[in-house]
């Protein structure tokens, strides 16, 4: 029992507990709150995995951005105070069954795979210094270089004559364009429109 295990235990418990609470809560705002707990602890797990950049991104975008967006959505779409839309017991049982099946499937898979074997045999290329950069907490710079198409984390210790590894320049550009399109599209979709009364909406539907 060392410090890492303790921290992992805390974060894992918070993550799983938050997720379970999200699944069980009926109030949407509370769901959002538990989501914060879960995602924030997940970012703690990322930090434990030495992925500090991903962890910070998780905090910034998921917790700081997406969840705020969700709460916004809740506030804009609630017709009354503290609204609840309860599910029927049958549906709950049905989803519980699906969940149990799923989790048993996952447990089965996780336990039945020899991960040590995978880690040792599935080496992409022969490189002992492969994870050098990952072990000293400096993932920000290698990730940035990878986005620009240069892979010091792979190529630094590579054997002579080996071709240079590829980076993620094109996907990075595509994603940024995608974000721009989404920005415009979301703004267009969500712009203020005439509110249709219930009668109207019914008649239009029919």
């Amino acid at each position: 029992m060392n410090g890492g295990q303790v921290l992992f235990g805390i974060f894992a418990l918070l993550t799983c507990g938050g997720a379970v609470a999200v699944a069980l809560t009926q109030n949407v705002v509370r769901m959002a709150f538990w989501l914060i707990v879960s995602l924030g602890s997940a970012s703690g797990l990322f930090f434990l995995l030495n992925a500090d950049f991903v962890g910070a991104t998780q905090l910034l975008i998921y917790v700081g951005g997406t969840v705020v967006l969700l709460i916004f959505g809740v506030m804009l779409t609630t017709s009354g105070p503290l609204l609840k839309i309860p599910s029927s017991p049958g549906e709950l049982i049905q989803s519980a069954v699906v969940g149990v099946l799923f989790i048993s499937m996952f447990f089965f898979t996780v336990w039945s795979v020899d991960w040590e074997h995978v880690a040792n045999t599935a080496r992409v290329h022969d490189s002992t210094t492969d994870t050098v950069a990952l072990q000293n907490d400096t993932t920000g710079r290698p990730i940035g270089m990878a986005f620009l198409g240069v892979r010091p984390d792979r190529d630094l210790g590579a054997a002579e004559g080996q071709p240079l590894s590829t980076g993620y320049f094109l996907p990075f550009e595509i994603v940024s364009m995608h974000l721009l399109v989404v920005l415009i599209g979301a703004a267009y979709l969500a712009r203020a429109k005439r509110q249709i009364t219930t009668a109207e909406s019914r008649s239009e539907v029919v």
């Binding site: 500090d52 991104t57 590579a158």
Partner: protein, 448 residues
């Protein structure tokens, strides 16, 4: 991450007495306690400062009696009063969230201190992604506010929360962009490195790095003021319209948590401004910086336990006081602004951000990235493909892209042009370039 806790010296100190893990834990707890003290005292001192400054601005005296001279214990008295107050929870409120919201806001602004270096060696967590994480944590504060507003079950609170959410989400964009501008100049997100780079002559401060960083500082400070929901941007608690905004229904200690969070984040953003633009803990005078931050560091009279360097400790102490002095001055400016300018309307607040500050910061960011290019062109270095005639460019593309085997020259343009023929000296050249690309700026150290 474990190894980067700056508590390592303390942990080593305790190593002989307890197990290493426990020592680390204890050291971490100790440091957390120290930070908590800073966090709490920031609120205590700045509330008193706010009262005094507002009093002077309004031609009053402010608190005078509490604690003797200058009313210095006024904040303490306020705190005691607030602790005594009844902790009310309205009937319509969502009690669970209502209780939790103030803690969430506090955690967010407290968490930011984790990566903020107070002196060259005094930082809780020395992360390479420091500023990024700081902004990430800072962005969480809004959640507490929004949840507080929502769970109060009051329309004033709800409006306050909504406004706050809209405002802070919008202002995060220029805040992050302006924060990135000195980062572009520095080349690292590590705040300790950023601070170390500026030690020496005050021309080293990123404020004076180029015209874009200069203007970026003012944009940043405006945005940061708004990000702390300070006047003239304090729409979330606009008492003339919303009674008390998101904290209308709060009382007692929970209410004061919000204020602790506010004043702490004021100190936090001011500290970031100091680090990014105003030279961090450097005094700006090389003849002072050199003896204190360079020479004194290695002075070890042999006092205290093994591994403890007294000179380094004193140097850090002086650095921290300089840093806190600069940050406090910025906080003072924020207070000054609050009592000078009238409050904006909510649409004006949003317009200011989205129509003016965002484009401005984008322009400044663009300019800051173009600046080295301009400087290089001014010095007559070959920088871009611009002065090449059309045909040459076509030929180059043809040779390098379509038939790379003929001429396997690859250019990596990163801090000065280096042309390396990868086919001839593959390993060494690659090593050199990649290594340099990996750690360029952080090893520059002090340049007095």
């Amino acid at each position: 991450m474990m190894t980067t806790l700056a508590a390592s010296t303390l942990a080593e100190f305790m190593n002989g007495y307890v197990s290493p893990e426990l020592a680390l834990m204890l050291a971490a707890l100790f440091h957390a306690g120290v930070l908590l003290l800073v966090f709490a005292h920031a609120a205590l001192i700045f509330i008193w400062l706010e009262r005094k400054v507002s009093g002077r601005i309004q031609d009053r005296l402010g608190p005078t009696r509490c604690g003797g001279r200058f009313g210095w214990a006024q904040g303490l008295a306020d705190g005691i009063k607030l602790i005594q107050k009844e902790d009310l929870i309205p009937r319509d409120a969502d009690a669970f969230l209502f209780r939790l919201a103030p803690y969430l806001a506090c955690i967010a602004s407290f968490g930011g201190f984790m990566v903020l270096p107070f002196a060259a060696d005094w930082v809780a967590v020395n992360l390479d992604t420091g500023l990024f994480l700081l902004f990430a944590i800072l962005s969480l504060e809004v959640l507490g506010i929004v949840l507080a507003g929502y769970s109060s079950g009051s329309k004033w609170s709800l409006f306050g929360g909504m406004r706050e959410a809209a405002q802070m989400v919008s202002y995060e964009i220029p805040l992050a962009i302006c924060g990135l501008i000195p980062i572009v100049a520095a080349g690292t997100l590590n705040l300790t490195d950023v601070g170390q780079m500026q030690v020496g002559h005050f021309g080293n401060w990123f404020l004076f790095h180029d015209p874009f960083t200069f203007f970026a500082f003012f944009v940043y400070f405006t945005v940061a003021t708004a990000g702390c929901k300070r006047a003239p941007f304090d729409l979330a608690e606009a008492e003339s319209e919303l009674v008390g905004g998101f904290h209308t229904e709060y009382s007692g200690m929970r209410w004061s948590y919000f204020f602790m969070a506010e004043y702490a984040s004021m100190l936090l953003v001011s500290g970031v401004a100091t680090l990014l633009f105003l030279g961090g803990w450097s005094t700006g005078l090389p003849f002072i910086d050199q003896p204190i931050f360079v020479d004194l560091k290695s002075w070890n009279p042999g006092i205290g336990p093994e591994g403890f360097v007294l000179g380094s400790y004193i140097s850090n102490l002086i650095g921290m006081s300089v840093f806190l002095l600069k940050s406090s001055f910025l906080v003072f400016v924020q207070i000054w602004v609050r009592w000078t300018f009238p409050r904006l309307r909510i649409d004006q607040v949003m317009t200011t951000c989205l129509k003016y500050l965002v484009p401005m910061s984008c322009f400044l960011f663009l300019g800051a990235t173009m600046w080295p290019l301009l400087m290089a062109m001014g010095k007559g270095q070959k920088t871009t493909i611009w002065p090449q005639p059309l045909g040459d460019r076509t030929v180059q593309v043809h040779e390098h892209v379509l038939h790379p085997i003929n001429e396997p020259k690859i250019q990596i343009a990163d801090r000065g042009e280096q042309t390396v023929d990868f086919s001839e000296t593959p390993v060494i050249a690659k090593e050199a370039i990649l290594t340099e690309a990996m750690h360029s700026p952080s090893e520059q150290g002090i340049q007095p």
